[in-house]
Subunit: 242 residues, 2 copies
């Protein structure tokens, strides 16, 4: 019984796990858990992950959820994975744990807070929450500044590495969620952080062609969202003229 | 140059690291970073942890922050640490990573949201935020239910362990922060979760006498907060009679 990976490619940690498996030639079966159709709340999926979140894996008799834990597990369970993804060196490994832990309460909370409350929620019938979106953006900007000035200060990749680790895939996939914003907002938020922008490009290149392939769904969602936003904007302009 | 541990014992992850060092006989110097006096924002401390949070460690030339990363580092860097704290077995270790990751976005956010917004903030001159406190409590209750019915379902300690791991110390220290609530709220929130209450006791016993010693500051803060709350309640009662 091989590795099964339960994901929705619209979820950033799902994409991180998929890209990691693909770039490392890990043999796996991708099983889609459509979160827009609430499949993560189904009894079948709850038997795999009682927290009703994606991603999760089943490897033989072993079940695991939480994307960072999954990425670390895969590095250890599959002998073909190059050591730069999760170095054996105690100091390097500890720094990777540190940035992954930091991610939870900073970059992730900021991105999710902004993108959900300003785009995904309102576009899917949830009441919009401008205050929550604003707080998310504030935390996101603070996190991007820390990436620029601290986490990326010593090398092309996080924590001074010359080659990508699981942390680079995880955090870059998080930031990619900002593609769902309007072009103007995306530019306004990301462009001040030159090192961050370069690092995203470097991580894309290091995981090509899988990075773009796995993100395809996100760009299709972006297109839909931006078209709807444009239509709404025209409607509002017309209204204001009546 | 030995291990230096930068903490404020009022911070739950600081207490987790201190208790871990003490129970494992790790030789270290405790350096207090008084967060009530904003010492975590001082340039000296920012040179150790640019995120201005406690705890952090300096071990020789190596600096590290984020309490989970620190606990994992200590398990690997100090050979005397018993393996149950952070098992070498891939499956057990992965489950510990999973519960530690889960902690970030669930139990921790719930506890901090409730305790800061209902007690610590208002008692220290921050505007009270009833909505944030309510959301914190909701997430906390959901997290306690998951602890009771999932994480503690297979053993005395988390993820089916018979002996405590770093995750038990970390999560129990988090829950201890609820001691700052009124006696009535503390009872109302925790008492429905019998396994959780027993697990807290088991973790205290497994780390005695260090657990109580390190938490002493919390009980002193509790006494102050509860006395103030009692005085305010008497004042409000008198006002309502006037």
């Amino acid at each position: 019984m091989g590795l099964k990976v339960y994901v929705d490619r619209l979820s950033q940690p799902s994409r991180a796990v998929l890209i990691f498996c693909k770039i490392n030639g890990i043999d796996f079966e991708e099983i889609r858990v459509d979160i827009m159709k609430n499949k993560h709340f189904s009894p079948e999926y709850k038997a795999i992950n009682p927290m009703s979140q994606v991603p999760a894996i089943v490897d033989g008799r072993f079940k695991l959820f939480e994307s960072h834990a999954i990425l670390i597990y895969l590095c250890s369970a599959f002998p073909g994975v190059a050591s730069h993804w999760y170095p054996g060196d105690l100091f390097k490994r500890s720094k990777i744990h540190s940035v992954l832990d930091w991610h939870h309460s900073n970059l992730r909370r900021g991105t999710v807070g902004l993108v959900f409350n300003s785009i995904i929620g309102p576009q899917n019938g949830f009441p919009s929450n401008a205050q929550a979106a604003k707080e998310g953006e504030k935390l996101l900007m603070k996190s991007l500044a820390k990436l620029e000035n601290f986490w990326l200060k010593d090398g092309r990749f996080l924590v001074g590495s010359l080659q990508p680790s699981i942390a680079d895939i995880s955090l870059v996939c998080e930031i990619m969620q900002l593609e769902l914003l309007s072009e103007k907002d995306h530019e306004r938020i990301l462009s001040p952080y030159k090192k961050v922008v370069q690092w995203i490009e470097d991580t894309k290149k290091a995981t090509a062609p899988h990075f773009d392939e796995v993100h395809d769904i996100l760009f299709r969602a972006q297109k839909r969202f931006r078209e709807r936003m444009a239509t709404e904007s025209v409607k509002n302009e017309l209204k204001s003229k009546l």
